[in-house]
């Protein structure tokens, strides 16, 4: 096993114990990038060769020099006898929706392709202060608007390391593909409708959407301000806990970062875990085992069960947790789950349209090179040439549903339906209620990773990929996706754990208990196809 394949917590321990150096760790990760990633995403990609079609393409920018000098600094710190941070020497990547000083911060869009951030986002700054080493910026759907990464202006878009003909999911697809392929132990993603959890499920890694307000958004390029949550992408539950520990907590630069004490997430996974799992009530809801989606060609709603492989993987996960002593509570009603996507279509578009008005070619980013008569024409040409189809669509939708004559029918109604979605969870988690759940266990996604090109273009169907993840964003609650097995085609399946506000420690404990229960299972030692091909 190479250093880049070790989990972050083990790697940091070896570096702190001087068994290996941080420079060795970063060289191992950079070598893996060289081996599997192929050409980085670019605005002028050219024709994709068959060889390149088998690569991961997670990165937009590899900042090798910056990573090497950070790693050397960690080694000097350790040699000087100073106590390094909990991420000492751990290579990580950052979704290119966060500002990092001195690096291109593109949002996967032509309109920010030349933008070099003058400051660093709080979660990135905290990871670097904890000894983490940033390898570079990874690809995403343009402005995070998508569930497959295909909408990025930077092509080729990332591919699924388990099958490069399939999407990695999105929008944090570059993050999850990189972590799955050993290109950095950790990645910082964001989740607005499932953008950490859905690609984590597709790529067979752990993804955590923290509670709204748990992690600062200072330096995050905004999409839906009432929904966006930065969070960890990691190879296992312990690493996700380690990373959350570092990035969580209040921040004077973000008034939505809540003043809630940060518990010791890593210690919560240690001694006494089994006792804490015993008697924990974990729910299953029939509303998370079927999907309802809108067929644009017929104008009708369709309901269909999730695939049998996904259903059996989730029930088997419940079985392992029951063996660990958890109480599985069946038939928990979550009747408003199906309204999550239509509600999201309204709320997120209004917020996106508002957040996208700032891109106008004046202070930063792209400006049209065409001759223009006046300022409004410069705005129009800049935005027409700088934005791809997805931002344009979201701006138009957001402006329509919030227009004075329609906002009661659409926007205000969606905000009230959001209350009903939140209530489903409040009732399920109410300690004095009928169900008294510590967590709800669901599939993360209705299907495993789909082929590149299979859904892209149908913006309605694409959005429904987030049906099981988006309710947590409406409700603000935390959600953890963890790998629980593979389908017959060798594609990863993810299970999702949802819990009350600020219950990340409990979700991580349940996830860790599942890891312990399935340690040594054959599927645990499977490696992504891209690694087998490379070796």
């Amino acid at each position: 096993m190479e250093l880049c394949d070790l989990p972050a917590h083990k790697l940091a321990r070896l570096i702190r114990g001087r068994d290996i150096s941080a420079v060795e760790a970063v060289e191992s990760a950079l070598a893996r990038v060289e081996q599997v990633d192929g050409q980085p995403g670019s605005l002028e990609p050219g024709e994709l060769s068959p060889e390149e079609a088998r690569r991961v393409h997670a990165f937009i920018t590899v900042s090798a020099d910056r990573a090497r000098s950070q790693a050397a600094a960690v080694d000097r710190q350790i040699s000087a006898g100073e106590v390094p941070g909990p991420l000492a020497g751990v290579p990580f990547t950052v979704k290119d929706i966060f500002c990092v000083q001195g690096t291109p911060s593109t949002a996967g869009s032509r309109i920010l392709a030349n933008f070099v951030a003058p400051y660093t986002a709080t979660p990135v700054r905290r990871m670097e202060a904890a000894g983490g080493v940033m390898l570079g910026k990874v690809n995403l759907d343009e402005f995070t608007f998508g569930s497959s990464n295909e909408s990025s202006a930077f092509q080729p878009s990332p591919r699924n390391p388990w099958d490069p003909a399939r999407v990695p999911g999105g929008s944090s697809g570059g993050s999850t593909a990189a972590v799955a392929a050993g290109e950095g132990q950790l990645s910082l993603g964001t989740d607005t409708a499932g953008s950490i959890r859905q690609p984590a499920a597709f790529c067979g890694v752990v993804g955590l959407k923290p509670t709204y307000g748990r992690v600062s958004r200072f330096g995050l390029i905004a999409f839906g301000s009432s929904l966006d949550c930065p969070g960890p992408v990691a190879r296992d539950v312990t690493d996700a806990a380690l990373m959350l520990q570092v990035i969580a907590g209040p921040d004077p630069f973000d008034s939505t970062a809540a003043s809630v004490p940060v518990p010791d997430y890593v210690a919560a996974l240690g001694a006494g875990l089994e006792e804490r799992i015993r008697g924990l009530r974990i729910g299953l809801s029939p509303d998370y085992f079927r999907i309802t989606f809108f067929d644009a060609s017929t104008g009708e709603l369709h309901e269909q069960p999730v695939s049998p492989e996904i259903e059996s993987a989730i029930l088997s996960t419940a079985g392992y947790l029951a063996e660990m002593g958890a109480d599985i509570v069946e038939d928990v009603p979550m009747p408003h789950t199906r309204y999550g996507i239509p509600t999201f279509f309204v709320i997120s578009r209004v917020e996106a349209a508002s957040n996208l008005h700032r891109y106008d070619g004046v202070k930063y980013g792209y400006r049209t090179p065409d001759p223009v008569a006046d300022l409004p024409e410069m705005y129009r040409k800049t935005r027409a040439q700088g934005f791809g189809l997805q931002p344009k669509l979201r701006i138009l939708m957001g402006m329509y549903v919030s227009a004075a004559q329609y906002s009661e029918q659409y926007y205000n109604r969606a905000l009230r339906v959001r209350t009903l979605i939140r209530r489903d969870f409040e009732q399920a988690f109410d300690p004095g209620g009928r169900y008294r759940l510590a967590a709800l266990l669901t599939p993360t996604t209705p299907t495993p990773a789909f082929p590149i090109g299979a859904v892209y273009g149908d913006t309605v169907l694409m959005q429904y990929a987030d049906q099981f993840t988006v309710p947590a964003n409406h409700a603000g609650i935390p959600g953890l996706s963890l790998p629980v097995g593979f389908d017959p085609e060798g594609l990863p399946i993810g299970a999702q754990l949802l819990g009350p506000d600020y219950s990340e420690a409990t979700l991580l404990q349940i996830g860790r208990a599942f890891e312990l229960a399935t340690e040594g299972k054959a599927w645990r030692s499977l490696r992504p196809t891209v690694l087998e091909m490379a070796s």
């Binding site: 003058p118 709204y212 106008d360 344009k392």
Partner: protein
């Protein structure tokens, strides 16, 4: 189900959004917009108690969890050049834009 947004309404939205679209882009985006609005119609059928409040963000911020308001202090930014370097066109540390339509006041 009929399309809610006709070409005229769509053209108006495009102007308000400060965009310009090619005919092919406009056709695709208008169709997608109408499809999304059809999906949104599902919300109209949900029985809503008149007393159901709106939720602006899921997690309530209470007096304990809401961060205190910062002291309003002026702190100079150390890298102003890095900010100015991002502007597409500058002149003597001013950002330059094309002609702003205006009318002369008498």
């Amino acid at each position: 189900m009929t399309n809610e947004i006709d070409q005229e309404t769509f053209a108006h939205l495009v102007r308000l959004a400060a965009l310009e679209l090619s005919p092919a882009e406009a056709e695709y985006l208008r169709q997608q917009l109408n499809n999304q609005l059809k999906a949104v119609q599902e919300l109209a059928a949900i029985p809503l108690d008149p007393g159901t409040p709106v939720t602006l963000h899921g997690v309530p911020f209470t007096s304990e969890t809401r961060p205190p308001i910062r002291v309003d202090e002026w702190v100079p930014f150390a890298h102003t050049e890095e900010i100015l370097e991002q502007a597409p066109e500058t002149e003597e540390r001013h950002i330059v834009v094309p002609e702003i339509p205006h009318t002369e006041l008498e």
